[in-house]
């Protein structure tokens, strides 16, 4: 399969090269490419109607990256039903990525991180605000803006420890007795989420 890969790639590149002869510009460049021949032929056919707009005309150019690293990180933390933090300037954010707790400082390399159930902490001077996040994503942009989206995020004091213990015991037992793959996966998720909540409450 791999021997053919280079041949197939070359073939598809050659076939597509006629169409993609003009290299597509990055969205960092201002999109002002209005096809004049199209506009002219449109005006001939429908002189009273405006030519249709394309998605690129609605796009704002990507904000430029500052040449020097900003001192503060701008955080947007949103949930499906509420916007927790919107454009808040903070010093650091620690997010529970699947690869481990990730500290985000201003000037962080652009990253897309999938979040696992865990604690997200927002550090502003000496203030630390902690949330337990169920799962979600974090988009870290080159201009020191962090967009964090979670499905459910709660303050640690709103979690009921007895429920967590009960759930953990229940799902550990389910994991032991699970039959199908799907049941095992669901039980595993339950164990993970409850252990994370347990660790969050005790840690």
């Amino acid at each position: 399969m791999f021997r053919q890969a280079s041949r197939l790639l070359y073939r598809s590149a050659a076939a597509g090269s006629s169409k993609s002869a003009t290299a597509r510009a990055f969205s960092t460049e201002v999109p002002s490419t209005i096809d004049s021949t199209f506009v002219e032929s449109w005006k001939k056919v429908a002189p009273n109607m405006d030519p249709p707009q394309t998605p690129s005309s609605f796009m704002k150019p990507r904000p430029s990256t500052a040449s020097s690293i900003p001192t503060k990180l701008t955080v947007n933390f949103v949930l499906p039903y509420a916007s927790e933090l919107s454009g808040k300037e903070v010093d650091m954010v620690i997010i529970p990525a699947t690869t481990g707790q990730m500290g985000v400082l201003p000037g962080h390399v652009p990253t897309i991180a999938e979040l696992k159930p865990g604690i997200m902490s927002v550090h502003e001077g000496t203030d630390v605000k902690k949330y337990f996040v169920s799962s979600g994503f974090a988009f870290l942009h080159a201009n020191s803006v962090a967009d964090i989206i979670a499905v459910e995020a709660v303050s640690l004091e709103n979690i009921d420890p007895s429920q967590v213990q009960k759930g953990l015991a229940e799902f550990t037992q389910k994991l032991a007795s699970a039959a199908t793959d799907l049941e095992k996966a669901e039980a595993q998720i339950g164990v993970e989420v409850h252990s994370a909540m347990n660790a969050a409450l005790t840690g």
Binding site: M1, V151, V154, Q163, L182, A185, G190, V193, H194, M197
Partner: protein, 73 residues
């Protein structure tokens, strides 16, 4: 080049990310203290009406449901 990285266990079991994410969120909601638990359950309630069709016409005017988002287990 076509090799896939190690897939998460839920993906290997045939689950989609959104299913996984919703299960996690539901479990977290179930472990909240009152009144936050009641608030979140209320917020996540879904109202929908279901009608079965036969011969191009709905069989009954409609079945009305008040349904909590399918809580797993």
């Amino acid at each position: 080049m076509a090799s896939s990285a190690a897939v998460p266990f839920w993906r290997a079991a045939g689950m989609m990310y959104i299913t996984y994410s919703n299960i996690c969120a539901n479990l977290v909601r179930k472990c909240l203290r009152e009144p936050f638990k009641a608030e979140s359950m209320n917020r996540e309630k879904v109202h929908f009406s279901l009608s079965k069709w036969a011969d191009g016409k709905p069989e009954k005017p409609g079945f009305f449901f008040f349904f909590f988002t399918l809580l797993p287990v």
